[in-house]
């Protein structure tokens, strides 16, 4: 049969199309604001996500506001007393060598001690330049390898 499918048709809405456009405009503005806020919350704030070097060099990042600091765990810097969940450790920026001391209370993520992991601390500047961590995230490199291959090439 002939393809009539998209021919104009009268619908009950047709008389209200002016009203509909206003609703559309309002909806559009609300959605645009919501999306805009999400983009802003994610990365418009340049204090939001910092390397160890950026954090230690930026005075205004150290006024107690929440930031994310990226770095690698310094070998042997991790300490935790027996029967305690409070741990302290240091993060290092591989490029500049800058370090940051941090404390955290809670259970550590599984991949925290993996030498290839990047550690992301969410928290704020605390007393004696020790970073108060409220949450720890771990970034793994995008390198995937089976158990067997990894044991054949232990340097990887």
């Amino acid at each position: 049969m002939a393809d009539l499918s998209l021919q104009q048709e009268a619908t009950p809405h047709a008389s209200n199309s002016g009203k509909m456009m206003v609703r559309f405009a309002i909806l559009g503005v609300v959605v645009a604001l919501a999306l805009g806020y999400m983009v802003y919350a994610a990365f418009a704030n340049d204090l939001y996500s910092l390397s160890v070097t950026e954090f230690t060099n930026k005075e205004d990042a150290q006024d107690g506001r929440m930031v994310r600091v990226w770095g690698k765990l310094v070998d042997g810097s991790f300490e935790r007393q027996d029967n305690s969940t409070v741990s302290s450790f240091r993060l290092r920026d591989d490029e500049s060598g800058a370090q940051l001391a941090a404390t955290y209370e809670g259970v550590l993520p599984d991949l925290f001690f993996n030498p290839h992991s990047e550690i992301i601390l969410e928290g704020s500047h605390g007393h004696n330049d020790v970073f108060q961590t409220s949450n720890i995230l771990v970034k793994c490199p995008s390198k995937y390898e089976g158990l067997e291959s990894a044991s054949l090439n232990p340097t990887q």
Binding site: S5, E9, M38
Partner: protein, 235 residues
């Protein structure tokens, strides 16, 4: 009549092929693929997550092209393909988000975090959910097709942003393993091969779903046209 029987046979054959590929893909993912040395078994989510995400990009590219063709030629077929691809694309990107959540909890230590890749993907989800909804909010089917075509063209801007987000901004999400920014050797060869099989499988599923949905949409449009003709004939 004969043609539609032949079409049915083709579709059933395609569906059977899809089913067999999916069984083979599951076997490869859970029996053949090696367990990742660092991440462990959760890494197998990857063979679903990556194809779903990439095919949602393909779906939105089909929407983009179909929308341009519709606006230029007003071809109803282009609108139907674009709409169907958008529906499948929204399902795929939702599943990509869900499989990502399954990965993020054990590997990143969080279910969700607002960071560039995740946020831009969530925006992508909203854009195409909007694409699907606006057609129904329009005063008639033809206007709805125009509105959604506009969203289908403008919304596509977000696809390259999602892809490059991990390159442009500091992101917890791993770097791409496929496409222009992929690092060679980031995957062991057997893992890469299984990923490719998985992508083929999801590609077939995508094509099948879009075909089915487009023919269903054609029936919906025909039905609407018949109803309209009847209404005009008997006042």
């Amino acid at each position: 009549m004969l043609q539609s029987v032949r079409q049915m046979n083709f579709k059933s054959g395609f569906l059977v092929l899809c089913g067999l590929m999916m069984v083979a893909d599951l076997w490869l993912i859970f029996q053949v693929a090696p367990t990742d040395a660092v991440i462990g078994d959760v890494q197998r989510v990857f063979y679903f997550h990556v194809p779903l995400a990439l095919l949602s990009f393909l779906a939105f590219f089909v929407v983009f092209v179909g929308s341009i063709i519709y606006l230029v030629k007003r071809s109803p077929a282009a609108d139907r393909i674009a709409y169907s691809a958008a529906e499948v694309g929204v399902v795929f990107v939702s599943l990509a988000l869900l499989t990502g959540i399954i990965w993020a909890r054990p590997v990143w230590n969080t279910w969700w975090t607002f960071e560039p890749r995740l946020t831009t993907t969530l925006i992508l989800w909203f854009i195409y959910a909007g694409y699907l909804m606006i057609g129904y909010a329009a005063p008639n089917r033809a206007k709805g097709a125009i509105y959604s075509a506009v969203i289908g063209i403008i919304g596509f801007i977000d696809v390259p942003i999602v892809y490059y987000s991990v390159v442009w901004w500091r992101s917890i999400h791993p770097a791409p393993v496929v496409g222009p920014m992929a690092e060679t050797g980031s995957l062991e060869p057997v893992m890469l091969n299984i990923l490719l099989v998985s992508m083929m499988t999801f590609l077939l599923l995508f094509i099948y779903l879009v075909m089915e949905r487009a023919s269903l949409r054609r029936s919906e449009d025909d039905f609407r046209a018949i109803r309209l003709a009847l209404r005009r004939a008997s006042p």
